[in-house]
Symmetry: none
Subunit: 229 residues, 2 copies
Amino acid sequence: MLTAKQNQLLLFIQERLASSGVSPSFDEMKDALGLKSKSGVHRLINALEERGFIRRMANRARAIEILKTPDNAAPQRGGDNVVSAPFGQAKTPSAPSAAGDDSFEIPLHGKIAAGTPIEALENRDSFVSIPGAMMGRGDCYALEVSGDSMVEMGILDGDTVVIESVNTARDGEVVVALVDREEATLKTLRRNGQFVELVPANRDYQTQVLEADRVQVQGRLVGLLRQYH
Amino acid sequence: MLTAKQNQLLLFIQERLASSGVSPSFDEMKDALGLKSKSGVHRLINALEERGFIRRMANRARAIEILKTPDNAAPQRGGDNVVSAPFGQAKTPSAPSAAGDDSFEIPLHGKIAAGTPIEALENRDSFVSIPGAMMGRGDCYALEVSGDSMVEMGILDGDTVVIESVNTARDGEVVVALVDREEATLKTLRRNGQFVELVPANRDYQTQVLEADRVQVQGRLVGLLRQYH
DNA sequence: TCGATATGTTCTCTTTTAGTTCACCTTTTG
DNA sequence: CAAAAGGTGAACTAAAAGAGAACATATCGA
């Protein structure tokens, strides 16, 4: 999954975060890897983010967070859990939360590429609460959108989408599609004879046309959350 | 995730909360960090809040709450030094810690035109629940978007937007603007000398340029919810 | 209710630190 | 060989940080 350099950088960041709680700057990473230019670091960081090993805030200094490490796919930390004590595993996914409240807690399963398909789903043990009205009929989970291939449908980079776990979808629905059992992507689904088209909502991207048996629907889009800063 | 200064301040707050149960004032934090001005503290606090390490109530003295720490030491939940919320609404401040829930109920105040301004706010006495992370610092309410003038920013007809009640906004923020005290509209705000520009995100609409005193900011956009059917 | 005090917020200005992008080159690998 | 990954350096943009002052807002007692 990772190249030697990417792994080396990831380990360095992890070590720095563990020892000081402060993530290293690009210059510090550059020195740690024995490089002479920051731009190489920049590329490695992008690669790590794309593969879901780290998360960062765009254009923010030292704002790197480690999500998982290559050996144990277990997250470093509890993600964005606000509370640690009563949180436990007791909560079943999509369970109604506080009494009288019309909201539900659903698990956040990681990132999904709206652009180039990158990675399959993974569990990060973090939860998001959503309005009850947004729940589909079945089991739901959330994904963070990465990439811009769905911008023309108003789905932006960084948005959180709510997905209902289903394995079939109607023509024209936006779905999480697993291609060749390894790459998950968010696209509009079109059926075309024995082929399936995964249609982006961005003129800069191409529609993928695939044999139906290479594509597996993992869920359909039922809601979207966005936060402005 | 944090810069050195941010981390230093967070540790100081944590230490004070643990030892005295009361969060330090801006002046005390200023002294603790060896600064000569409070404004720097203010910025650090904002950065910590943006990164989800603390939560606070606007304009309330010593109302800081630690949500997590960089090394993921046990959060200081519980001792709510924060008294009486100014929100008339059901903000269920106790629910989050008890149930691991992190959502709030906010009132839905009706529709807002993203296109041509149509109507001022009205009360429909209905509520929406939103994830806690989406709450601004202050009082929030929701509006249903009508029209398509903000589509290029991914705000579509029928979306629900979360608005933080404020009466000022920075240049470039998306705001609910009341024009001539009668027409509310959702637009990007630009200041231009004594004029205010209300900029749509749709090439088919025109920017409105108005004398500053004809425009009143009623809130700023902090979140967005969408439901797919 | 008025006003004093404590506290939080904003603004402008300046300096420093950090992140981004680009063009071009080299190395590794399938 | 060609593609992907890695490396360099420079120019550029943006964020972090510090200072100081004016202003806004709570809180509480007279």
